[in-house]
Each structure stands twice: as C-alpha cells, then as structure tokens.
C-alpha cells in the first residue's frame, strides 16, 4: 500500500514565516518553529516550502524529483529532455540524519520548456509544465515530481520535520518565505511523496485537518484535468488553488469566499454589492467549497495566505513583527522564533490572512 491507493487521513502541525519586505532569511527559523510542535507529528512525514531560494535561476522551473530507481530516473530524464531545456541538474544536497532512512534518489532540475514543444502544445508555459508534471507522476513508475515552481522549492521526507529540515540542510537556504508541515497520518504508508507541502508550480499547501468535502472537491477538480494521485486533502486543496487562482483568475480573497465561503445567513446580512458577489462565488463554484476542519498555509510566488475552515475547527494563530508575518498551529511555534511580537491574533474561520511582498514580486 502506498499513498494514492487509498484516501489518507491525517492530523498535523503547520507553520509559515514571511518577510513582507522580501528580505531573505535562513531556513533555520522555520525548523525551530516546527520543531516546537513535535508532539503534533508522529515521524511519518515532514516538509518545507521555501520561496526566493533560487535567485540565480529565478526564471527557470525548479523540478524536485524523487526516484525510486535508476531506471525511473533514466526514463524521467529522457522525458524531461524531450520537453524541456535543462539549464542545470544536480542531486539535492542532503546530510545523513539517523532518523531519516530509505531515502530515494532526490534530484533537482532547472528547466524551461522547449519552445517548439510549447508551441506545439498550444498551451501557456505554466499549463505545459503542469501537464508534464502530471505525465511524469502518473505515467513514469518510480518518479515523482514534488516541486515544480520558479525560485522556490519543496523539501520533504518521511520523518519528523526538524529531522527533515536538517536532512535537507535547510538552514543553508535563504528565502523570503518558508512554510513547514509536521505530519500525523492516521494510517501510515510512509511514502516520501506523501509528505507535505503539496505543490503544483509555485503553489504549495501545508494543511492541518481533514476535509469532509474531499470527494466532492476531488471529483470536481479532476473534471478540470487535475489528477489526484495522492488522494490527500492537501493535494486537492493545492489543485483548487491552482485552478481558481491561475486558471479562473479569482483573487485570493475571492478564493477564500469560495473554499471557506461564509454561511448563507452571513452573506444575506451583507450590503447588496458584496452579497451579490459572495452569492455568485458560492453558487458558481459550489463544488469547491471545502467543509470539515482545516487550517492551511498556502505559499505562492510573492505571497502567503493562512486560512481556517469556516467553523474554525482547527487551531491557527498569526503574528506580526515589523515586516515579518508568522502563522502557525500554535502560538508557541511563533514565540520560539520571535517572542517580541507587535501583534498576535487568531483569525476567524473562513477569514483568509493574505500577505504579499511589498512592491510585488521578489
């Protein structure tokens, strides 16, 4: 049994740090933060997303890929070469950590779509990348692309998150945003690809919770060409974000009004314009409403969003200090890295807290 063969249900810890000024900082803080919530994980998965870490390759898609075998690697690389110009490839640097075992081959590629292939596909380059990622993940046995955005990367493994961080030498990276996840799956396949964050392009999702709308959401999002290979809530949420943000063009705030839509009674109490808009969003994208407990931190190029389900059935705290923004499952996970906060609060259910870089992209 491995992830993707059945639906995986889990509880978790999440944390995120964001510098609004775009100032890059070391990955050490996010490890410290997630480590505090050790008890929320059970060693069966941890991971990080880091933004702004590849400034020298910021125009190229950074593919992070797990290989279970050399033959898988060979097959995959052939596919990549067929569709992309590979600017750089290397093993992702790791260090030996006793708690992290059975690691697959972990490779990184900086790529850009081959212009001829892209033109032939009649797709924009992002959609082209998405199609290729799905192709690898569904067709090439033993290969799994777990990160595919620009100037960002996902680092994940089976293990406690702090061990995973050390394993990937995360403290050696500098970025303007990090998110982290410690996993407590209630059934345990223990596959590296199943750890969080889940990502597609530059969208990453770390998630604590279990969404009861899962299959409704999954069957809907699959209609739009997404393949839910992992059968995890997080994967579905990531795809929904990608769909609504990138494909449909909703703003993050509007997305919050879809996936954590206000109750009808709340909508009806709003002024007419707002009411109509909320009603429209809820109706038009009804099947993308996510119910059940969740707290998520979504990372994307130039921004981060923290969101709770509309009943706030999972904990989540946000904090601010100067240009730094923090979000975590527990207050302690913020305090451990910044005790002197300007503000700390618990966002209401369904109320997305969105932070973006001042002046746009990094």
């Amino acid at each position: 049994m491995r992830e993707g063969m059945f639906r995986n249900i889990s509880g978790c810890a999440i944390s995120g740090i964001f510098s609004k000024s775009g100032k890059r900082f070391s990955g050490k803080s996010i490890i410290d933060s997630i480590a505090v919530m050790h008890e929320r994980s059970n060693g069966l998965g941890g991971g990080f997303a880091a933004y702004g870490i590849y400034p020298e390759y910021k125009d190229y898609y950074a593919f992070h890929i797990f290989y279970e075998s050399k033959s898988a690697k060979k097959e995959c690389e052939e596919f990549i070469e067929e569709h992309f110009d590979i600017i750089n490839l290397s093993k992702i640097p790791t260090r030996k950590v006793p708690a992290i075992k059975d690691e697959p081959l972990i490779w990184r590629y900086f790529v850009t779509p081959l212009p001829t292939k892209l033109a032939d596909s009649q797709l924009d380059d992002k959609e082209f990348v998405v199609k290729c990622v799905f192709r690898i993940n569904t067709r090439i046995d033993g290969a799994y692309v777990f990160s595919s955005g620009k100037n960002m990367g996902v680092f994940k493994a089976v293990g406690f998150p702090e061990d995973v961080g050390r394993f990937y030498r995360l403290e050696e990276y500098e970025g303007y945003c990090f998110t982290a996840h410690g996993r407590y799956p209630t059934n345990t396949p223990g596959w590296w690809g199943g750890a969080h964050p889940f990502s597609l392009l530059d969208y990453t999702v770390v998630h604590n919770g279990e969404i009861s709308s899962y299959d409704a959401n999954r069957r809907t999002i699959e209609m739009y060409g997404y393949k839910c290979t992992l059968k995890t809530d997080t994967e579905v949420i990531a795809y929904i974000f990608d769909y609504l943000h990138r494909k449909i063009g909703l703003t993050l705030k509007e997305i919050c009004s879809v996936i954590a839509a206000p109750f009808w009674s709340t909508i009806e109490s709003k002024p007419q314009k707002e009411r109509e808009e909320l009603e429209y969003l809820r109706n038009a994208f009804a099947s993308l409403l996510i119910t059940g407990p969740f707290s998520i931190i979504v990372g994307f190029e130039g921004g981060m969003m923290a969101l709770n389900d509309r009943l706030k059935l999972r904990s989540m705290v946000c904090g601010e200090k100067d240009d730094m923004f923090y979000a975590a499952s527990e207050e302690a996970a913020i305090r451990v890295i910044q005790n002197d906060l300007d503000r700390i609060w618990s966002p209401r259910g369904g109320e997305g807290v969105i932070v973006t870089l001042e002046g746009g992209k990094a």
């Binding site: 299959d215 119910t291 059940g292």
Partner: protein
C-alpha cells in the same frame, strides 16, 4: 364465466364489539364497500369492492376496522404466482392491456437500501446541527466556465438563470387531472412556504395557482396541454418531459370522465374528451430537435428561466444525458423505473427502465468525464422515499431530487394503486367533487411542509455526522458512501467502495 371470478385480494374485518354503527365507513367509501342494514342496525362489507385504501380504517372512530390480505390462494409456485395466474384470467376475459397505478412494485434491487453512509469519528469532528449552521440551500442551473470582470475589476454575475431551493428536494410533475385541484394547491403552497418548487405536470396550470409561480415548474409534454405564453411566463422554470420513469416510451392518457370544466379550461381541450399525450413529442425525433425546443422555450421567455429536460432512466441514459447537457438544457431530470404514475400499462411499468441509483451514478460520472457536469444540474426521481435516499442521491452526484409518491403519501395516499379508477378516497387522484374536498389544502400543505422540514432536519443530522455543514460539499461526495452486498460491477457503476474498504 366462472373462471372470471377472482376472489378478493383483501378482506374487511370488522370488530362488531367495537362498531358503534356510526356509518362513517359507509359514507367515506367511494367504492361502496360498506353497507348499513337498517333492519338489523348493522354494518356489513363487500370485500370485492375494497381497494385497501384504508380510508374507512383511518376514520373509524372506535378502531373497529382492519383490512387483511386474503389468505385465499391459488395452487401457485415460484414460477406461476397468484399474480401471474390472475392476470391471465383478466386478460383472457377482457382482451385488453393491463393497467396499473403508482410505481413498479416488483422485487428488483433497491440500491439505496444497499448503500450506507459515513460518519466522522476522532480525526474529524461531526457537527451538531443544533449548535452550528447547517446549510441545505442549493442552486440549480448551469455554472459558468469562466468568470468575467467589469472595467473596475469587479466580478460580473454571468450565471445563467438559476433556481434557488432551500433544500435539495422538489415536488415532481403530477398533472392537474391526474391529481386534484386540492392536491395541486397543497403542493403549490407547500413549495412556496418551503422555498422549493413543485411541478405542474403536463396538464397546464390552473389560473388560481399563477400566484405561486415563483415556486412553479411548468411542464411541456408531448400533448402540449395547457401550454401558452402566460403559462410559460408564470413559472420559475420550464420542464420538457421526454419520458417518465413509470412508463418509458409510453405516452399518457387522461380519460374524458376526468376532464371537467376546470380541467378542460386548464388543458385547453373540450370537456369530456380524452387527453392523450403521444409517446414521442412529434417535433422531437433527435437531439437536435430537442435543442430547438429548448431554445424555443428560452426564446419565448427571454432567457429568464432555466429549462429542464426530463427523461426516464433507460439503458443508455448516460449517453442521452450527455447529449442533453449539450443541448442548452440547464437541468436534467432523470426518472427511475420506480417512479409513480396515475396509470400505466402494467407490463411497461414493471419491466421497462433501470434503477435511478445506477442511472444517476453513470450520468454524473459520464458528465464529469466529459468535463460538462457543470453545464447542467441533475435532478433525480423515481422513488425517493426518505431523507436518507436524498442524502445518498446527492452523494452519488445529484443536485436535487424530485419526490412524487412520498408527497402524495404525506397528503394521505395509502398506495392502494387504484388511481386509474378516479375514485380516490383521499381526494388526491380524483376529480369527483365530493372526493376532492376530502383533501383540505390547509391541512395538506402543512403535512407537506412538515414532511420536508422533518427530512431537512434529518439531512442536517446526517450531514453533521459526516462533518459536512453545507450540502454542496455532499454533492458527488461518493467517499461518504459504501455498498453492502453489491457485486464488483454494481460498485463500479455506483462509483463507491464496499463497506469495510
């Protein structure tokens, strides 16, 4: 001929110790099964006239009556059942097609009864509907493929006409003619109070009920009875009836005896004439023709109302539905083979069509596979008997359900399946004035409202148990379902796992 004598199916049992000779049974039986013997000051009954509608049983103030199934029996066996034998006697006598009412009674699988629901434990909290909001509102109609914004970047409402329902249940098509004025009024008023919709069926709309238009679906069927501009305009939505679950491939027939003044006016046919709906629409011989009618109706109403296309669940229903989803229809209604009817040829009712559960599952999946599920809403009908059936249907992928028989039962129908006689003792499937008045809509509509509110409570309970607080998160959420006692193929079609998996 002696062979034509068939022993009555039911026997009226009277407890003479309890009978106070109030004669209510006698007054209330339109079949005249009860008789008062004045010389003996005693009530007697003629079992042959009894249709087992329970009117007398229900009204007997001393509970002196009961109806039992006759234990009189043929020398039947598993092959030659009493029913088969009797039907042959009847047909050998009459030379005619056998007629029946209400839904398919035969022992085919009821898939709803082989599907179980999930509930949350530990990893995900169940939600208490008494403490937390629990939403059952649904909108029916096509959803947009893309958003549009105005010059200021604000979202533009580009939704096609939608139907707003407070819960995913509507009253299905039952024509004025097949059911009574008071039954229609009950349905119309209940729909209005509940914030759902009822359906006129193919018999037009009585002018008195135009005021319930916001909660009315008007039907356009092959007979086109009572279809005119005002009829279309008075509605919230228009339904093209292509087929009916109880009698796929068959038209309708309202006997002239039921076509009185009011019905004649409403249907726009002469008093006393038979109202015959042809089997097909004579202007629809292909999917293109359907598309033309869909757009004709939209054109006629200024594109302000959703158009529903109702079909019977038949073998290649998924394919048909796919065609309809591309025809411009906003909603597809699928009627399973257990759906009710005022009258249908027995063989058709009992042997044609497929179960709604399978039809729904395959249509929903097919439309998703084709990426057009959001083009249309799916409404299913054909024996939704309880809130659990509603929840299962929604989880299989339905946007809403239609209930017909359940609504009639709420109004007093006792499923005696004698609608075709026109002597409904409960004032539902009759046009006889003295019988029609037995259904007081002031009580009838309240019973419908009660039933729906009860179901709504139950739906909320079940949703809450699953950790879902809004019905849209239940729609198509097949992981919430598990099959029991189903084979691989059935599970595959239903798109659900077996219990224990």
């Amino acid at each position: 001929m002696a062979v034509e004598y068939i022993y009555p199916d039911y026997e009226i049992v009277r407890d003479y110790d309890r009978c106070i000779v109030c004669r209510v049974c006698e007054r209330q039986c339109a079949n005249e099964a009860h008789e008062y013997l004045s010389d003996k000051n005693k009530m007697v009954a003629d079992n042959a006239k009894c249709v087992n509608c329970h009117r007398c049983v229900s009204l007997c103030p001393t509970r002196a009556l009961k109806i039992v199934k006759s234990d009189h029996t043929f020398k039947e066996n598993a092959n030659w059942t009493g029913k088969s034998i009797k039907e042959i006697y009847k047909q050998a006598g009459s030379g005619g097609v056998l007629l029946s009412s209400m839904g398919n009674p035969e022992n085919y699988p009821v898939y709803f009864d082989k599907i179980l629901l999930n509930a949350s434990q530990v990893t995900n909290p169940s939600i208490d509907p008494l403490r937390e909001p629990m939403e059952t509102r649904v909108y029916l109609g096509a959803k947009p493929e893309r958003i549009e914004r105005d010059e200021k970047g604000r979202l533009i409402n580009n939704l096609k006409p939608q139907l707003k329902l407070s819960m995913p249940v509507m009253f299905s098509a039952m024509s004025y003619g097949s059911i009574s004025y008071n039954a229609h009024e009950s349905l119309a008023r209940a729909a209005t109070e509940l914030g759902i919709l009822y359906n006129t069926g193919e018999g037009g709309l009585h002018e008195d009920f135009y005021k319930y238009g916001k909660n009315t679906i008007v039907q356009v069927a092959s007979g086109r009875f009572g279809v005119h501009k005002k009829y279309l305009e008075s509605s919230a939505a228009i339904e093209i009836k292509m087929g009916q679950g109880a009698k796929p491939g068959i038209g309708g027939h309202l006997p002239g005896t039921k076509v009185g003044e009011d019905i004649s006016k409403t249907r726009m046919i002469p008093v006393g004439t038979d109202a015959i709906s042809p089997a097909p629409h004579h202007d629809i011989y292909s999917i293109e023709d359907l598309r033309q009618l869909v757009y004709s109706l939209k054109e006629a109403t200024g594109y302000t109302k959703p158009v529903i296309v109702k079909i019977a669940a038949v073998h290649n229903v998924a394919l048909i539905a796919s065609g309809i989803a591309r025809s411009g229809a906003d909603i597809i209604a699928i009627d399973g083979f257990r759906g009710g009817t005022g009258a249908a040829p027995t063989r058709i009712r009992d042997h044609v069509g497929i179960p709604i559960e399978l039809a729904l599952a395959s249509v929903d999946q097919r439309l998703r596979d084709e990426g057009i599920r959001n083009n249309v809403s799916i409404v299913v009908a054909g024996s939704i008997r309880s809130s659990a059936d509603v929840v299962k249907a929604v989880a299989l992928g339905a946007d809403a359900v239609y209930i017909g028989t359940a609504a009639l039962i709420a109004l007093g129908c006792h499923l005696c399946r004698s609608c075709h006689t026109g002597k409904c003792n409960w004032g539902i499937a009759t046009q006889r004035e003295d019988l029609v008045k037995r259904l007081n809509p002031n009580l009838g509509y309240k019973r419908l409202v009660n039933l729906m509110n009860a179901w709504k409570h139950e739906i909320k309970e079940m949703m809450g148990g699953m950790g879902i607080n809004s019905i849209e998160s239940l729609k198509g959420n097949r992981l919430m379902l598990r099959g029991v006692g189903l084979n691989e193929k059935e599970l595959q079609i239903l798109g659900i796992k077996h219990a224990g998996e």
